[in-house]
């Protein structure tokens, strides 16, 4: 097994897009990422470089500026924080608009997005968790996709939380349809949605240990418990010597 090689490049690899991201240039190596298990792919030396974080500056183009301005005025009208306090950065990529919202402002932002007549994102289309174990201090990400039927617009919110404090406010008070999506994200990533009416596991059994879609959770190889007996993981059930 090859291991992660922080530091220097190997010759022949494409140049890194941003030299400033040098503290961990190689995000991962190996094809199937199964550390500690036999890599049968033959591609254990594949390297993936860290991509520089994207930041977009206004004007964002299309209806994106209108959304940003309406959200700004809605947040300021409330006497509260403005756009820049609630949204840490804006990314426009592949024709999609993303607001990276600070988690303490999420509920206010969601409320404005739903109720402000200029925004009116009525349809909550789900939460998708992502785990970035190498982005220290902001490992867990909850990605919300919203749709406005009134204005025919789409918007993505991304909220980050550290692994050490995996709390994000629940948006169920604003969007009741977020209920199951947040339960799923809790189940698979361990993000605790504060204020959720019943944050229980939804796909995994109630007594399951761990959150299976995190990057530090292996694929397979989990011993399965049945009523007092334990079935070992597949790779330990028999041996060929």
């Amino acid at each position: 097994m090859t291991t992660t090689t922080p530091g220097g490049d190997e010759p022949g690899l494409p140049a890194r897009p941003d030299a400033a991201e040098a503290e961990a240039p190689v995000v991962r190596t190996g094809m199937f990422g199964a550390a500690g298990t036999p890599d049968t792919s033959g591609y254990g030396r594949l390297q993936v470089h860290r991509a520089p974080p994207l930041v977009s500056e206004p004007p964002y183009g299309g209806y994106f500026d209108a959304v940003a301005q309406s959200l700004n005025s809605a947040l300021e009208a409330d006497g509260g924080s403005g756009f820049s306090a609630a949204v840490e950065r804006v990314v426009v990529d592949h024709g999609e608009l993303t607001f990276y919202v600070r988690r303490e402002h999420l509920l206010t932002v969601a409320d404005k997005l739903l109720h402000d007549p200029a925004l009116r994102f009525e349809i909550f289309t789900g939460v998708s968790g992502v785990h970035y174990p190498l982005e220290t201090g902001r490992e867990l990400s909850a990605v919300y996709h919203l749709l406005s039927i009134t204005h025919n617009r789409r918007l993505r919110l991304e909220v980050r939380a550290p692994d050490a404090d995996p709390h994000i406010p629940s948006v169920t008070p604003v969007y009741p349809a977020a209920n199951w999506h947040e339960r799923e994200t809790w189940d698979f990533f361990g993000i605790v949605f504060d204020g959720h009416p019943a944050l229980t596991r939804i796909e995994m059994p109630d007594d399951w240990l761990g959150h299976p879609q995190r990057k530090d959770y292996p694929l397979g190889g989990i011993p399965v418990e049945y009523r007092g007996t334990k079935v070992p993981p597949p790779d330990e059930r028999r041996s060929y010597t």
């Binding site: 995000v27 991962r28 592949h94 289309t125 996709h145 995994m204």
Partner: protein, 454 residues
């Protein structure tokens, strides 16, 4: 009588009654006490019924926990997860191309929609959305619309059986069977096709494929007419569906419901019209709506959508026939670094790699051999970023959120499945209604647990 059904293991029935209140178990035998009123159950008529995991009416392994006051459902909770297979996690360990093979198995009644949403999301990340060959788009639309019909028939037909009508079931499935035959001819499989690939589709239309679709179109008019005659004014069907599981526009908005349930409230929201993809804006079709907000309305919308999809299939078959004169019309992106290199052909010993392609890579072109080897084993790299592509699936908005870190496999792939989302509406649809109306209410969502649990 068995004693291990009690919370306290080994307790006798009398001890359990004392500890837990009156306990009823599956052994029954207490009818005499019940009719003579000897038992101490008092005035508390509330019963908790556990339906499933399996029955409700076998849209998959679903479990419902219903609280009943007499025949009235006061509390309905859906419990899911019995069919969770870790599709999203597995995709992170395979190449982008192999992702099609996994995601097609999510909602197995609309496999091509799953593949299309996923592939279009990856194509957006690759920035090749406008480089798709015209033929690939046409084949995709053809298959997606046929899949929409087969999914609706897989909803309406079994719905009849859930209400006790086997004839409706057989008529629905007969028509669906012909579509599956078309899928088998086009993709090799009746379901779980993995046919839509990043950059296009896996293969060209087989010889005689368009004639097979035309033959289906000619027969389908009579089949849909039969279904309408069987169902539309059927007194049993209408009594069981009209006014049942009412969810109006306000309720749909609060629960973010999309698809036929939303269109049955009168709002013509269809992503093929409002946010077109695959050139849907160039096809002539309508978005059918009714404003009854009930189970019957959802059935009407689905059947009308079958007719609209047949219209689209007719148009796309004509367009494909027009292109049949074009030499070497590609069906996958002509980019040697992305497009799947291998071609299949039917030999005397069955389907296998085409001899021309093998001769080309083994005898003529070193570059082609390298591309073939790298693409098939390692896969292509997708630039870092994230994309969410929604499409109008038969059940509502089906979105795929993919995240790439710049590698050759998905960093994260998430399917926003409409069935999963709409199962949240079960409580709203069932509570306050009769126990018998729970089954039509769930059937009107048309959930497929493969998609709910993924």
């Amino acid at each position: 009588m068995s004693t291990d059904t009690h919370a306290t293991p080994g307790a006798t029935d009398a001890e359990a009654d004392a500890a837990e209140g009156r306990v009823y178990n599956v052994a029954g035998g207490d009818w005499d006490e019940l009719v003579t009123g000897d038992d101490d159950r008092g005035t508390n008529e509330q019963i908790v019924v556990n339906m499933g995991p399996q029955h409700p009416s076998t849209h998959g392994v679903l479990r419902l926990v219903l609280t009943l006051e007499g025949e009235t459902v006061t509390d309905a909770r859906a419990s899911i997860g019995y069919l969770h297979t870790g599709i999203e996690k597995n995709m992170e360990y395979r190449t982008w191309t192999q992702g099609s093979t996994f995601i097609t198995r999510a909602d197995y009644l609309m496999p091509l929609h799953n593949e299309a949403a996923y592939c279009m999301a990856v194509e957006r990340l690759l920035g090749i959305e406008d480089k798709l060959p015209e033929r690939a788009k046409l084949i995709r639309v053809l298959l997606l619309e046929l899949n929409r019909i087969s999914s609706h028939l897989g909803g309406v037909g079994p719905f009849g059986m859930e209400l006790g009508a086997t004839t409706i079931f057989l008529h629905g499935l007969r028509m669906r069977e012909y579509i599956l035959d078309i899928f088998e001819a086009f993709t090799g499989l009746r379901m779980n096709h993995a046919f839509i690939r990043v950059g296009g589709v896996a293969q060209d239309i087989p010889p005689g494929g368009l004639e097979q679709v035309r033959d289906f179109l000619a027969k389908s008019k009579g089949w849909t007419r039969d279904l309408h005659k069987l169902i539309d004014a059927n007194p049993v069907f209408t009594a069981r569906t009209k006014g049942i599981a009412y969810l109006d526009l306000e309720g749909c908005m609060a629960l973010s419901v999309t698809g036929p349930m939303l269109r049955a409230t009168g709002l013509p929201w269809d992503l093929r019209k409002s946010q077109p993809y695959l050139d849907y804006e160039t096809y002539d079709f309508d978005v059918p709506t009714v404003d009854t907000c009930d189970t019957y309305g959802r059935y009407v919308v689905r059947m009308a959508e079958v007719d609209e999809s047949l219209k689209i299939v007719e148009q796309v078959v004509d367009r494909l026939a027009e292109r049949s004169g074009i030499e070497n019309d590609p069906w996958i992106i002509q980019d040697a670094k992305i497009g799947w290199p291998a071609r299949l052909s039917l030999g005397p010993d069955g389907l296998g790699p085409s001899p021309e392609h093998i001769a080309h890579i083994m005898g003529q072109s070193m570059e082609a051999l390298i591309h073939h080897f790298k693409l098939v084993t390692e896969g292509f790299r997708v630039p870092a970023g994230q994309a969410y592509v929604p499409i109008e699936s038969p059940k509502g908005e089906l979105g795929c959120h993919v995240v790439s870190d710049g590698g050759t496999r998905p960093y994260r792939a998430h399917l926003r499945d409409p069935s999963f989302h709409h199962m949240q509406a079960v409580s709203v649809l069932c509570e306050g209604g009769n126990l018998a109306d729970v089954i039509p209410a769930i059937a009107s969502i048309d959930p497929v647990i493969g998609g709910v649990d993924r």
